[in-house]
């Protein structure tokens, strides 16, 4: 069709598709799935870090952490808005999350077990997320690409804050250093898995590349992340828990060990250490909040009726 041709031409020219533009159903569906999954990740991602707000060891760190978790809520908000431009309501998306149909980033199904986890999430988890997300700033769908520009900017700020917090801890007591190393040991491999399965096993990538929704392959991004992180770890003074990790002069990249994909899929399928807790917590918050949302709606309706009466 003409519409289809126009769409394809726009994509080929690296132009932006906007909400009012015609788009193929598959493109729309893929985007809704990806954007809502991303939004859910922001919302669920508030929980592992939120776990340490009440116990933050200084007021400065407490304020930074609250602000960070708040930013994640904000990201969720504008990602839900971006997805809504594709004709899916926030309620529909939440229903997908709460019923377990929609996914979110598996990294948030691991527990935060010491204060350094907060810093390591900033440094490594947000770092990996940024690697994944920067290409999306050039994504073909306008609202998503604009949302991602804002998200990436704030995430970079969080990453630097996380790294800075770890630097301070690594200059501190033995106990503080041990916390950082413990957190890195637990989270490193999970971060590498965040880039998704190896390119050889990755199902959606080809079409996503074609549509400019995905622009760099999983393995390429993973390699980029590792290469960027190794020198940062050295400066920090932590050991990345991979005996196979070393510079390959020939490839001009770091070699690295085997990721435990079985564990990854276990967690993706809902059987990680915290999947049930994270989801049940979101569902409970939503259900507990029903009366609040009902009240707001009822009040708005009453106000409208009163306004109509006065007008009449």
């Amino acid at each position: 069709s003409d519409q289809e041709a126009a769409f394809e031409a726009r994509i080929d020219a690296d132009g932006r598709i906007e909400p009012q533009d015609w788009m193929p159903e598959a493109y729309r569906k893929t985007l809704v799935r990806q954007i809502s999954q991303h939004a859910h990740s922001e919302i669920v991602g508030m929980l592992p870090e939120g776990n340490w707000i009440s116990r933050a060891p200084s007021l400065k760190r407490k304020a930074i952490l609250i602000a960070k978790v708040q930013d994640e809520g904000g990201h969720g908000l504008y990602l839900y808005s971006a997805a809504e431009t594709l004709g899916t309501s926030r309620d529909q998306m939440l229903e997908g999350l709460h019923s377990g149909k929609a996914k979110y980033s598996s990294i948030f199904n691991y527990p935060t077990l010491n204060w350094a986890d907060v810093g390591v999430i900033g440094w490594l988890v947000d770092g990996a997320a940024i690697m994944n997300q920067i290409p999306l700033c050039r994504c073909s769908y306008g609202p998503y690409s604009r949302a991602m520009i804002r998200v990436c900017k704030e995430e970079s700020f969080h990453q630097r804050q996380g790294y800075e917090a770890l630097l301070v801890m690594m200059q501190g007591t033995e106990a503080q250093k041990a916390m950082v190393q413990d957190a890195v040991n637990r989270l490193w491999w999970k971060c590498l898995a965040m880039f998704g399965p190896p390119d050889s096993d990755s199902p959606h990538s080809a079409q996503g590349m074609r549509w400019g929704i995905k622009r760099i392959s999983n393995d390429e991004l993973r390699q980029k992340f590792i290469d960027a992180t190794v020198p940062q770890a050295k400066v920090l003074g932590v050991t990345l828990p991979d005996p196979d990790l070393k510079w390959n002069e020939e490839r001009q990249h770091h070699d690295y060990g085997q990721i435990d994909w079985q564990e990854f899929w276990n967690t993706v399928e809902g059987n990680g250490p915290c999947n049930k807790e994270r989801l049940a917590t979101r569902v409970k918050a939503h259900n507990d909040g029903q009366w609040v949302r009902d009240a707001a709606l009822a009040y708005t309706r009453k106000q409208q009726q009163r306004a109509q009466k006065e007008a009449a």
Binding site: S54, A165, T173, V292, R293
Partner: protein, 260 residues
């Protein structure tokens, strides 16, 4: 002409304790926008607490710091209003677990916010220039907090039957704790005597006006209050503050020499 340190600590303790409580909603709010709003309110309070503790620490000298004051003072040294340390539910003892009730959270923010717009407004004119500067910043924040909370009080009171019931229960539960606002404490008296503090009792009529107007719009009834008057600002608290501080201070205290 400077406000006494104890007075600044009273203001700081109020801010940090309510900041801690409001942050407990982070990730658990009834709607994403409220999750963000509550985090914002909390952040403002933590920010106020930091400035106030910093001011107190400077004036105390020695090895006092913002964090020493927040993390290494015991329950009996905290001078916050009892109202602010209560958990987000109806009247239950400290170790009776219960869900968070957003009506309780909002009504508390409303009752305290109505006070603080008046207190900061008065302190903005304090001859204690440092305190006046903090007050000027805090006043803007308090206005937003009050606005946010009052909006919801009205929505709850004039919303559904259930929200009305919950809001009225929260008002009934929390109102008696506001009596503490109007009692005198040595720190407040000294601040007033020095000409640097706000005479809270002189603000009572204005507070009543704000509160009564919103309650009326919300079709909520202001309860009769009599009996026990809380004494948190004298360091005699409810059973709840011990749990709150235990959680808040535990990690910092486990590493007394550490920098974070």
């Amino acid at each position: 002409m400077n406000a006494p340190v104890d007075y600044i600590l009273h203001l700081a303790d109020n801010a940090v304790v309510l900041g801690q409580r409001n942050a407990e909603w982070c990730g658990h709010g009834p709607i994403l926008e409220e999750d963000i709003a509550l985090a914002n309110v909390s952040l403002d309070h933590i920010g106020q607490a930091r400035l106030l503790y910093q001011l107190a620490a400077t004036r105390m000298g020695g090895d006092a710091t913002e964090d020493k004051l927040a993390y290494f003072r015991d329950e009996t040294q905290f001078r916050n209003y009892t109202l602010l340390e209560l958990p987000h539910n109806g009247p239950l003892v400290g170790y009776a677990v219960s869900d968070r009730d957003y009506a309780t959270t909002i009504v508390r923010n409303f009752l305290y916010g109505a006070l603080m717009v008046l207190v900061w407004d008065a302190l903005e004119k304090s001859p204690d220039a440092d305190l006046a500067a903090i007050a000027a910043k805090s006043l803007k924040e308090a206005r937003y907090h009050l606005h946010h909370a009052a909006d919801w009080v009205v929505r709850f009171g004039d919303g559904t039957e259930e929200s009305h019931k919950r809001a009225q229960a929260a008002v009934d539960h929390l109102f008696p704790y506001t009596e503490e606002f109007w009692t005198s404490s040595a720190a407040e008296d000294a601040a007033v005597a020095a000409g640097a503090g706000a005479d809270v009792r002189s603000l009572r009529a204005a507070w009543d006006a704000i509160v009564n107007e919103t309650l009326a719009e919300a079709t909520l009834v202001r309860p009769q209050v009599r009996g026990y008057v809380p004494e948190g600002k004298h360091g005699r608290h409810s059973e709840h503050l011990g749990y709150l501080l235990g959680e808040m201070q535990g990690l910092a205290r486990a590493h007394p020499g550490a920098t974070w």
